[in-house]
Symmetry: D2
Subunit: 386 residues, 4 copies
Amino acid sequence: MARLNWGMIGGGEGSQIGPAHRIGAGLDGHFTLAAGAFDVDPAKGVEFAGTLGVAEDRAYGDWRAMLEGETARDDRVDLVTVATPNATHYEITKAFLENGFNVLCEKPMTMTVAEAEDIVATARKSGRICAVNYGYSGYPMVRHMRAMVAGGELGRVRLIKAEFAHGFHANAADADNPRIRWRYDPQQIGPSAQFADCGIHALHMASFVSGQEAEELSADFVSCIASRTLEDDAMVSFRMSGGAVLRLWTSSVAVGRMHGLTLQVFGEKGGLSWEQEHPNQLYWTPVDGRTQIIERGAPDLSAAAQRASRVTIGHAEGMPLAFANIYADLAEVIMAEKESRSPDPAATHYPTALDGLRSMAAISAAVESANKSGNWTDARPPSFRG
Amino acid sequence: MARLNWGMIGGGEGSQIGPAHRIGAGLDGHFTLAAGAFDVDPAKGVEFAGTLGVAEDRAYGDWRAMLEGETARDDRVDLVTVATPNATHYEITKAFLENGFNVLCEKPMTMTVAEAEDIVATARKSGRICAVNYGYSGYPMVRHMRAMVAGGELGRVRLIKAEFAHGFHANAADADNPRIRWRYDPQQIGPSAQFADCGIHALHMASFVSGQEAEELSADFVSCIASRTLEDDAMVSFRMSGGAVLRLWTSSVAVGRMHGLTLQVFGEKGGLSWEQEHPNQLYWTPVDGRTQIIERGAPDLSAAAQRASRVTIGHAEGMPLAFANIYADLAEVIMAEKESRSPDPAATHYPTALDGLRSMAAISAAVESANKSGNWTDARPPSFRG
Amino acid sequence: MARLNWGMIGGGEGSQIGPAHRIGAGLDGHFTLAAGAFDVDPAKGVEFAGTLGVAEDRAYGDWRAMLEGETARDDRVDLVTVATPNATHYEITKAFLENGFNVLCEKPMTMTVAEAEDIVATARKSGRICAVNYGYSGYPMVRHMRAMVAGGELGRVRLIKAEFAHGFHANAADADNPRIRWRYDPQQIGPSAQFADCGIHALHMASFVSGQEAEELSADFVSCIASRTLEDDAMVSFRMSGGAVLRLWTSSVAVGRMHGLTLQVFGEKGGLSWEQEHPNQLYWTPVDGRTQIIERGAPDLSAAAQRASRVTIGHAEGMPLAFANIYADLAEVIMAEKESRSPDPAATHYPTALDGLRSMAAISAAVESANKSGNWTDARPPSFRG
Amino acid sequence: MARLNWGMIGGGEGSQIGPAHRIGAGLDGHFTLAAGAFDVDPAKGVEFAGTLGVAEDRAYGDWRAMLEGETARDDRVDLVTVATPNATHYEITKAFLENGFNVLCEKPMTMTVAEAEDIVATARKSGRICAVNYGYSGYPMVRHMRAMVAGGELGRVRLIKAEFAHGFHANAADADNPRIRWRYDPQQIGPSAQFADCGIHALHMASFVSGQEAEELSADFVSCIASRTLEDDAMVSFRMSGGAVLRLWTSSVAVGRMHGLTLQVFGEKGGLSWEQEHPNQLYWTPVDGRTQIIERGAPDLSAAAQRASRVTIGHAEGMPLAFANIYADLAEVIMAEKESRSPDPAATHYPTALDGLRSMAAISAAVESANKSGNWTDARPPSFRG
């Protein structure tokens, strides 16, 4: 496949997410890193661009310069990744979409529901891709779960259990360490901490796999460490658009859990169980039958799972390859447009601005419910309400 | 240790719980089955008693005859187990307590909170033992968890996660089978099905291990199979007496889960994780440390866990031995009284009428909360409210 | 079922195996402990018998007195368990068989192959039961494996992998502790330590499940702790009677392994995997298919597994119940004879003197092979050789 | 880091190993694919080179043309990967080394021990890198095991257990399928099949982690499917240079095992256990202590493990990233030479021609031993014998 040009905003020296994107985009050779504005400090960003092999004239001091520079070029980047601080995602994503660029935005896509509605509308008007980085949905076995549900193997999904729990913020002695504290500061992070940071990954996974969206929710937020204004543990129950119930738990004080993202989906005909820390196995139990272990790489997997696999059965694949699958999908869809053909249907399931919007609406509703003694609250974006 | 005399009401031919009690009581040789009224059909009960080696004059036709007969004897039974249908537990337990017998009552102890308050008061007045059979608390590693919490190894417990989920009622085609249907019929079972049946085991475990009692709760009850009046899936969040939050999930439509009773306890200094299906291992993670696997039978376990273990490390022990531990505790406490000595302190943690009362109060509160959009509801027994 | 009379030799105060036998024999109520000679010190044995409820006239000072006393009684014990020091098994077992008693002998049945041949011949002549306590074969899922193989579900068994490894003798500083040292002293234990102690359990399991007996073997014995005369680690490869290869590893210096008895059986049509530490699950993989988890207590298990199960699916059963299954089998077979009927065929798979003989032959062959650079050596008992 | 030029021989269209190398080499951006001779069909190779972005003048028709072309250039490739059919490895690797290129050769490095000795000598004389692709040694937790052993945390290593078992050649009906059959054909593959294909990975891992080399071995080879000339199952015991015993099992008929590469290392002070299918966790048990789970990404890991990790704790990393670690090491060592500095010591543990030679010697010895009733056989390369 011919290479596409790729640009990056943010993700400079010392960033954690930057290298992850570069591995993800570079892994299959679809994208060449052609341009970037990597740092709030223009000089540092330009210097860093050099170390990555970006040509001098495409090493920009800031995102506005990059927008101007790239817009003017014939070989403008085919995709821009926005990996800047959260509060800037909205403005940058919107500007690039409006100028005809495809965008992959880090989560959270925006800081408010209204901004998220605006991004969805902007993306729709532009006809461009606006993807949002819910990278866990790139795992092959997650895609297989989705295919099984869509293919009717579970019957109607009745119940979903999703968790994203870790224990890395459990040390009270460390809670005022600035490295941790900002994550629970409403000034910096908005009205929700743990649910907005981790919970929405679990929510996205539940929707992605079940094909059902959140309609109503009841939330219980708790700060297990008293000095925190925002929640470090949350339990949210949902009613989903297809009638399923979703039980979602997220915590940052669950000592002993690593990045405990797990998903269980229970339908009329059987149940599925998957966990992110051992992502190459999927457990499937038909009603009244035996649990079966479905292995990544097995010959009878769905097309979606096959497309997302790279190595043979029995060899572990991990998060960076899941991440790369999002990029591989975008490459396919962008190339298909260039080549005036339909993309591989298995490549069209990457998360989009709509997912970003739904997350923002769910966060807003969960905060409201938690403040009102767990009252059931409309979890849909305003534009989706009757 | 000399043998104690034991009597049984219910648990006759074809009963599932009857053999479990006989294994539990007989396993260590503390109890001799000396008397019984095993069946609603007096003749069948008397005949069955014979097959169990009960002497003719102590094979009773019904519990009233047994109460009368045993009360009149010098060698009256030292303990009576009540394993009759739920609706009769209250009357029988009360009658035996009032006549000075020690009782082990199957769960649920009563059908209402008021009855449960009455049993607690009756037991207190009688000075007799009224134990209730939350048998999972007999597992050695559950007792070790309790000892770790009590010994301060976790610091203050902040958060508890308890689950009891199975999938054996998930087959909609089988839902109207009488074998299943009665479990969701409010006429037969009271106002709660899955929470009352399985959820309260999880609640008892959480209280047993943490030393904290339920104070308030918010519940969400769902019938995943539409024909059911009562819930087959429930999520309940609690505020506990020591400040902990408890997240409790129970389900009977979670296909792929067997008897998925799991407990995770997260404190200031570390977290514990245990699951009933693999009960001989306990996972302990100190804050900022590595997860350690604590094995049943290890030489450094607490006295409570040592007392509850019978075979060497690396050999599985299961549910029947956990159950036998409840009986072993009762034997020790009864013998100690006979011998006018203090019982082994490690033997005094068997569940009592108070636990039965607290369960009934929690069921009542959960039903009320679920009916009121999940509103937070007082979960304490009336006698414990300010 | 009416009760049988049971007697015990050895297993007195402080013994580890004694309580295990009493739990196993007593669990289902088939056997009443009616007689015993529990200790080398006659007075201590008689006193201990009293604490167990044995009548005075059947509390014997030594096994010879017991043999004489019981032989003279009409209500003589229906089964004698021999749980004395290893060197005495042969003499006691033989004497009781010759006098018409059924015997359950602890392993090893004898100290030499010749003695074992003699026990087999004696048992045959007497027409009495001579069982040997390979208790792990009592696990329900082990019996299910055997039933699957016997029923042809695996096709021809090609390859078996059996392990019994622990790490409790790995501490060099503790190696000269008498509690450990005697286990590696040829004067006390014979020519093999770890293979004779643990390895033969694994060998018995392999034969029990596959229905194939050891024909030839090649052994490698190692003393990882230099001060030991006998092996603490052994690898033995076998050729089995049905053409299968058995790879057997046993070790007492494998730190981190508990009682790691595992069995994998690979046939033409699929493979099985089981481990003693989590005995309620069996993993079954059809060739070119998905691994399935077979749960103890599932309704579709073999009759042999059903017979050996006591509690419902999802509840752990452990080693003491496996042990009790051996006793339950013996009770059924003894009762059937008393009642002049055929026993339940599922009860006839307990290990016998033949298994004890085959173990002794394998130990002898393994020692010989290990001494001759691993040369392939006939592993059959002399009486089974061409 | 500035980019290095990389060339590839073999690994063309349809190859499985080709994409794995390109992902591995490309992942961190150290290497640019600058030249290649990708196919035995020159035209196809040149065309394929174009799709990979290789410049026309460096898309070669065969390896000889590439050797000539690259030797003539100032910007010659810094590393050549040899991923051609096994029988050609020796000739190509030797030619490139002699002309001053660094080489990464796929395994097996050669077809005979003599050729392997020659490669080692050639590499030494040339002063160039000759790496061999034992890619599993790139896993972070494998490197951590090595660091723990080297740092003395286990004390002297006494015993190693290594397995590489799968079941993908177990279907007898498929055994004559050419896709499978060639793997057991001595004409194509040499004198060993399963041991040479998978077993030597396990052997390399054992040596890599323990720091001990094979000195003597005793082998048992079996063809479980009778039509096979070569072994599909092998058990080999070793005596290692530091006194440890290695038990190595490899099989291709172990139905239910995926790519079951596992390693257990038992030392005086504790034991380690790791499995390739869940490579992010390492189990460590100190003698007389509790098993601990060491997680990839934990802050207290060794420098070698840290260097080999890319994503945060709790996120799975898999085989492609392990593979990339070998390339990252080579990049560091090559760059260090260019920059006249010492390489990061943690980057110097990639497998070399010496490992390739030791593997060939072990294969040769195992075949000899298996043919001689398992006799103990010198496993060292001729040049390492007294």
